[in-house]
């Protein structure tokens, strides 16, 4: 056995003890000593003398011969595990079929390379039957003993499918096998095939079929079909369809049973449609009624599609039928309900139409009546107002004047209400036409602000005006109506800010102009207040006629509720809008936006007047705004004055403006500033009184509330040297007559030219129990003294004609001539300088009283000079 014969020498347990060189060459490996021949070549050789094994995908036939210590095993190369030839092996490999063999006695398992590959086992690893079972999905493991035992014992075909995880994926395998016997030995040989795709397809199909079936059952949809056999159509339907028509199971497929149930009225059209579909292949789609055997009428919807065979002939129809009786009943009920509702709506609409017509007629009559009565009332009211105006200019007592004022205010209020009513009627009747006149926005704003400035001040409301007029141009539009809107909204702001609960009373008016295009511009005026504010619900009904914010509003604040309604309608007519923002107890903002035409007529550009402006100290916010306004209208030269600066010469200017809110800085610069002609000082409203009194010789104005128009007017007025008498006329009750001059034989003489002082001193004397004669000047006083005997003379010093000093001199001269005792003469003077006192004493006056004369002082004088007079 030496030389070229490949052989192995083993012990009794078939463990390799030596290997011949030819065997090493044949197997291509020599590290085999100690290995089991059976394991190495994947075969069984312990009970047989020859077997075919496999090593590294090559097949070998082994022949076993016994020796003293074991066996000699001769190797012969062969092409396949089968001796029959290699074609079978190729076929099996190409079909990717795994092979296996299971020895029922030894439990030894043989697995081909493909089988090992399926199971994820390495080529040179030998597995036991138990290990093999463990690889299988746990739910399928029980199949193996069941099928293998039944096959071995009862010949039941060994054929089943199982799952296992291969390369991380779940896969399906089909196992087939059959029992083989050789002598006393029994094997089961078989194949293993990967059937994952087929199995998944079948599972998906089953799932889809089950799903469809469940859906059809849930929807109570019956299915029906017909196939063509020759010229005959064979019909079939499922149990659900049979149940819809309450047919017997044996009736399934008998078309006549179905036809018999069709409602006589529907039968012709249904059968014709079915016939048409079977002939032409068009879809069958019918709603029809059937009368069941128990007499019930059911409503059915049926639909079917026709199929063709390979020749293109219509050979089948498949469809569904649905019982819609319940839906039909519901629809019917709904239809009846709709009809009933429609009838009721029509009746109600007719009623409403009639009511509306009546209301419109009534409204028209009301409007006509209001219009007529307003006109009729206005005429006599104008007469009343005129008469009251004339009466107010007559000489009246204070009480009568009050009554005339009350009557006049009430009449004016009444005429305002009538005007509002007429406006509202006109607007509602579409008869109000807007005017188009050229106007200046600053003048309009100024008029509106001036109307309320005094009352705002009186009510403690700080009113601030900010105008942005840099781009302003003359406008064209209905100035009066725009003024009416602004007056109303600013008036409301004053009214609703002047309430007891409001602590911070501020109203701010912002005016802006924006050019929209070469023909149009937009004016935006926002009026914000810190008044009572409104809720959202109140805002929503704010512009409704005769509706005020709250029911209590009329009672608390007065008014008719017409104002904002008219404003809303007017702004609509003007193509603008009023935006209201408000918060209860915090205040409101009314923003009025109105478009106006630009006055594009040519006019000469007005040359700006030079204005020298001095800023003394820090520029306050409101003075900064004023300066901005001044720049719009004047050619401003600005000079800032502080403690470090010098009063350098400015370009010559007609007008001089000082902006300051620092009184000490003003005092510092006063000597230079008061030399400037036409000087006008603007300061913050809170400082205006202090400035006006401290710089009494200067014109001092508050910078708020101040409109651009007012600024220009004030600067212009400052240039006028003379005063206009009309500006210095205020009403006062007529003065009582002067105290009657003359003698009444009293022993005190009062010489005083000022009737007020005459009455005052006479009254004071009377209060002390004295009475006096009164002379109006020194000459009259001397005559009185000359013709009467007085115990005391009280005389003013400065009087026209003969003054107090002259009269005293004359009296003292006469007394000296006639040797009379000197009468006590008391000077009553407004001057209190020491020189004045010396003067009085030097000319013979005895004492003096300082005006105004207090009761205590006059009493002392009387005690001193009257009581002790001779």
């Amino acid at each position: 056995m030496e030389g070229s014969i490949p052989f192995l020498v083993t012990d009794k347990a078939l463990l390799i003890k030596s290997i011949s060189p030819a065997a090493v060459e044949l197997l291509g490996c020599k590290e085999v000593l100690g290995l089991s021949v059976q394991a190495l070549l994947n075969l069984e050789l312990d009970k047989v003398d020859s077997a075919i094994g496999c090593y590294k995908n090559r097949y070998f036939k082994l022949y076993k011969y016994g020796t003293t210590n074991g066996y000699s095993v001769v190797l012969q190369k062969c092409n396949t595990v089968f001796d029959e030839g290699s074609f079978l092996a190729d076929a099996i490999n190409s079909a990717n079929i795994g092979l296996w063999r299971y020895n029922l006695d030894s439990k030894h398992v043989y697995l081909s390379d493909i089988t090992k590959q399926f199971l994820g086992i390495e080529d040179d690893v030998q597995v036991t039957w138990r290990q093999l079972i463990c690889l299988v999905h746990k739910d399928d493991r029980a199949l193996f003993p069941l099928f293998f035992e039944n096959h071995a014992q009862f010949g039941v075909p060994l054929q089943f499918e199982f799952r296992l995880k291969s390369a991380g994926q779940k896969r399906w395998f089909a196992l087939k096998g059959s029992l083989a016997k050789r002598g006393a030995l029994q094997w089961i040989n078989g194949t293993l095939q990967d059937c994952t795709i087929e199995k998944n397809t079948v599972i998906a199909l089953n799932d889809a079929d089950e799903s469809k079936q469940l859906a059809i059952e849930a929807g109570k949809i019956g299915t029906w079909r017909a196939t063509k056999s020759g010229n005959l159509w064979r019909w079939k339907w499922d149990m659900l369809a049979n149940t819809i028509f309450k047919l017997e199971p044996k009736d399934i497929g008998d078309l006549n049973k179905w036809v018999e149930l069709l409602h006589p009225e529907d039968r012709p059209k249904v059968l014709a449609a079915l016939d048409e579909s079977l002939k032409t292949g068009i879809e069958f789609k019918q709603h029809y009624r059937s009368i069941l055997k128990n007499g019930d009428v059911i409503y059915v919807f049926a639909q079917g599609r026709v199929g063709k065979n390979y020749k293109g002939e219509h050979c089948r129809i498949d469809g569904v039928c649905i019982d819609q009786t319940e839906i039909h009943k519901a629809q019917q009920a709904l239809k009846e309900l709709n009809t009933e509702l429609e009838t009721r709506v029509n009746d109600r609409t007719a009623e409403l139409h009639n009511t509306l017509q009546k209301a419109e007629r009534a409204n028209k009559v009301k409007s006509e009546f209001l219009s007529m009565i307003s006109h009729e009332l206005r005429t006599p009211l104008n007469g009343i107002i005129g008469a009251l105006d004339l009466l107010a200019h007559c000489q009246l007592t204070s009480e009568s004047k009050d009554l005339v004022y009350t009557a006049s205010t009430s009449a004016n209020h009444l005429i305002t209400i009538l005007n509002d009513l007429l406006d509202l009627n006109k607007i509602e009747a579409g008869k109000l036409e807007l005017e188009t006149v050229v106007f200046e926005l600053p003048t309009l704003v100024s008029e509106v602000v001036s109307t309320f400035a005094a009352s705002a001040k009186e009510k403690g409301i700080s009113l601030n005006i900010y105008e942005d007029l840099a781009q302003l141009q003359p406008l064209k539009g209905d100035e009066n109506r725009f003024r009416q809107i602004l007056l109303n909204i600013l008036g409301n702001a004053i009214k609703f800010t002047n309430t007891q609960g409001v602590k911070q009373k501020h109203i701010t008016l912002n005016a802006q102009f924006k050019q929209l295009n070469i023909y149009q511009g937009e004016v935006t005026i926002s009026i914000s207040d810190t008044g009572v504010g409104m809720s959202k619900e109140t805002i929503n009904k704010l512009f409704t006629p005769f509706t005020q914010a709250e029911k209590s509003t009329t009672r608390k604040f007065g008014g008719t509720g017409l104002g904002l309604s008219i404003c809303g309608k007017l702004i609509d007519l003007m193509g603008g809008q009023i935006i209201v923002e408000s918060e209860l107890h915090k205040g409101s903002v009314f923003t009025i936006k109105a478009p106006f035409w630009l006055d594009i007529s040519e006019r000469e550009a007005r040359e700006k007047t030079p204005l020298a402006c001095y800023v003394v100290g820090q520029l306050s916010f409101d003075n900064a705004h004023l300066l901005k306004l001044a720049h719009v209208f004047y050619d401003v030269t600005l000079r800032e004055l502080n403690s470090a600066s010098k009063m350098n010469a400015m370009p010559p200017a007609q007008l001089h403006l000082v902006l300051s809110s620092e009184i000490d800085s003003m005092r510092f610069w006063l000597p230079q500033l008061e030399q400037l002609p036409n000087l006008i000082v603007y300061t913050d409203a809170s400082l205006q009184s202090q400035f006006a009194l401290s710089f009494v010789q200067l014109a001092v104005y508050p910078n708020q509330p101040l409109t651009a128009h007012q600024l220009c007017s004030q600067l212009e007025a400052q240039q006028q040297e003379q005063l206009n008498m009309d500006d210095f006329t205020f009403d006062a009750e007529p003065q009582d007559k002067t105290v009657e001059s003359g003698t009444c034989g009293h022993d005190i003489l009062l010489v005083e030219d000022n009737p007020f002082n005459q009455k005052l001193i006479k009254n004071q004397l009377e209060k002390l129990g004295f009475h006096c004669d009164v002379a109006s000047n020194g000459a009259e006083g001397f005559n009185f003294w000359h013709s009467h005997h007085y115990k005391l003379i009280l005389t003013d010093c400065h009087m026209p004609e003969v003054d107090g000093y002259e009269m005293t001199k004359q009296i003292r001269t006469e007394e000296a001539k006639s040797e009379q005792p000197p009468v006590p003469i008391i000077a009553v003077t407004g001057a209190v300088m020491q020189g004045e006192k010396d003067m009085c004493t030097s000319i013979g006056m005895n004492d003096f009283l300082c005006k105004p004369v207090r009761l205590t002082d006059i009493k002392l004088i009387m005690e001193r000079w009257y009581e002790h007079s001779a």
Partner: protein, 118 residues
């Protein structure tokens, strides 16, 4: 006058009480009397101003000043005294401003008296 100008009152009601006692009817009569006199004298002052008669201007201011002091019209009295002073130097622009302020004071007194009555 020791009081600072900005501390002066438009109408100090205590002054007239010191002169005639706390008799409201009598006081009201004197207030009315004063306003009537002020309305008349103010016209004269304006006339004098417009014709630059500073002597008459001073005289009228002095005339009304004593009445103003008597009723407690402190600011008015201060303005009238200042007119007297500026009349001596014939400072017309200063006098103009003071007359304007004086007019405002009389209106304020009238308003205060009217409000006080109601």
């Amino acid at each position: 006058m020791n009081t600072q100008p900005d501390e002066l009152k438009t109408l100090n009601r205590e002054t007239i009480i010191d002169l005639v006692g706390d008799e409201p009817d009598k006081i009201q009569k004197f207030h009315t009397e004063f306003l009537a006199q002020a309305a008349t004298v103010l016209k004269t002052i304006v006339q004098s101003f417009n014709i630059n008669d500073f002597g008459e201007l001073k005289s009228q201011a002095h005339f009304l000043k004593t009445s103003a002091r008597a009723v407690g019209a402190e600011r008015s009295a201060y303005f009238l005294e200042t007119i007297e002073r500026y009349s001596l130097t014939k400072n017309k622009s200063a006098i103009k401003q003071i007359i304007i302020k004086l007019n405002g004071e009389f209106i304020a007194i009238k308003k205060e008296l009217t409000n006080g009555e109601h």
